[in-house]
């Protein structure tokens, strides 16, 4: 069942809060994110019934809103922009989770048959790793450890948070900043604070 669209009053309120947020008003931004979270959650539930995965999606959407806030046109309604981000992130999360389910073996007795690194030689992967190493080394330690745990070792956010002693939400922000810093160092992103 589709979630109820926001009322006209809500739409106007969110647009006003977002305009203030674009100018750097932290209080408006925090209020906006809190007010839209239930809407994002109900949108995500269209795609996913798993409550943990839904909450992961909500947090991904909030992070994406934060990264892409400069793309919202203040002359246009806010909720279609938000709904598009929520739909996209929900689909991405579903694809990721079905990919993991297809290939992951969740068995304590599963034995790694190729423990010798040389047996898994892959020239392209090694080249990518060689390029990535100096970029990773240049990151602040907290960001580097967060990135290694989640993206390189493939731990789930919850498992990585437990290992590193960080709250899950903070870990997501740290990883987000680390990826942003890596992209900047690799010349893939502009330095300007435009989202």
């Amino acid at each position: 069942m589709s979630p109820a669209p926001p009322s006209v009053r809500q739409e106007l309120s969110w647009a006003t809060l977002m305009r203030s947020s674009l100018a750097g008003d932290e209080a408006s931004y925090e209020r906006l994110l809190r007010e839209v979270t239930p809407f994002i959650r109900s949108l995500s539930r269209r795609y996913c019934r798993n409550s943990q995965l839904t909450e992961d999606i909500v947090q991904e959407v909030l992070l994406t809103v934060h990264r892409m806030r400069h793309t919202w046109d203040p002359r246009r309604p806010f909720s279609p922009w938000l709904a598009a981000i929520a739909a996209r992130r929900s689909i991405d999360a579903l694809r990721r989770s079905s990919r993991i389910a297809r290939f992951e073996v969740n068995d304590e007795l599963a034995i790694e048959t190729f423990a010798v690194p040389g047996a898994n030689y892959d020239r392209e992967a090694r080249h990518a790793a060689e390029q990535l190493e100096p970029l990773l080394a240049a990151l602040p330690e907290r960001q580097r450890r967060a990135l290694e745990a989640t993206k390189l070792r493939g731990l789930s956010t919850a498992a990585a948070a437990r290992e590193l002693g960080e709250p899950v939400a903070s870990l997501r922000v740290i990883v987000h900043r680390a990826v942003k810093a890596l992209r900047r160092r690799a010349g893939l992103e502009e330095k300007a604070e435009d989202g």
Partner: protein, 213 residues
């Protein structure tokens, strides 16, 4: 009620907030890029093209229609790419270049059909058609690089669709520019080479879509 993790994330994001410069509307951004592209193409045409021959060749209605369809495909695809790079815009923008593209294929096909399934009045001209391939690719690459640089500011949620449209637009604009330097009538070999060049650009753009996402 918001779970603790999400609550904390919201608080952290709010503390992380900085003022941002909002992107200009998609049409304005597309217009700016196209203006620069046409300036460069116009300069090249003015300096190097055989304009009197072009005028004679394209006075024929079919040729004029083909030229217009190529141009409109390029403009339409680039505009669509800019609209789809921003969340919340209708996906119907994807269809903008389809009608001119169909007209372009139709008018090109009609031109080629003059020679039946033959290779044209000058026989096998694959060597000359290869110049068309090089022209389209050589013109497309810098435009595509510039377009990718501009598009990635929006960080499109669907980089695949945006890359496809951008590449189609760029290749069509390159094919439009080629018409000013194409001294012979189009044959099936020419058309095949043009399509191959455009397909190559689209393929490369799809492979490199991470650069704009």
């Amino acid at each position: 009620m918001i779970p603790n993790d999400t609550d904390e994330l919201i608080h952290t994001l709010a503390r992380d907030l900085r003022p941002v410069r909002v992107l200009r509307p998609p049409l304005a951004r597309a217009g700016g890029l196209l203006a620069i592209v046409f300036l460069v193409i116009g300069l090249a045409v003015w300096l190097k093209a055989d304009l009197p021959s072009f005028a004679v060749r394209y006075a024929e209605p079919r040729m004029g229609l083909q030229s217009a369809a190529t141009l409109l495909t390029g403009i339409g695809a680039v505009v669509a790419a800019f609209y789809l790079s921003v969340p919340g815009r209708s996906t119907s923008w994807s269809y903008l270049p389809l009608a001119p593209l169909a007209l372009w294929i139709l008018t090109s096909g009609l031109g080629c059909s003059k020679y039946g399934v033959g290779l044209g009045p000058e026989g096998d001209r694959l060597g000359l058609s290869a110049h068309c391939f090089v022209f389209i690719v050589a013109v497309s690459i810098p435009i595509m690089a510039f377009l990718a640089l501009v598009l990635r500011r929006a960080r499109p949620l669907d980089p695949l669709r945006v890359s496809l449209l951008a590449a189609l637009g760029v290749a069509a604009l390159a094919a439009f520019a080629l018409q000013f330097f194409h001294p012979f009538d189009i044959t099936w070999v020419d058309l095949g080479v043009h399509v191959a060049a455009m397909g190559s650009m689209i393929g490369v753009a799809v492979l490199c879509r991470a650069a704009i996402g």
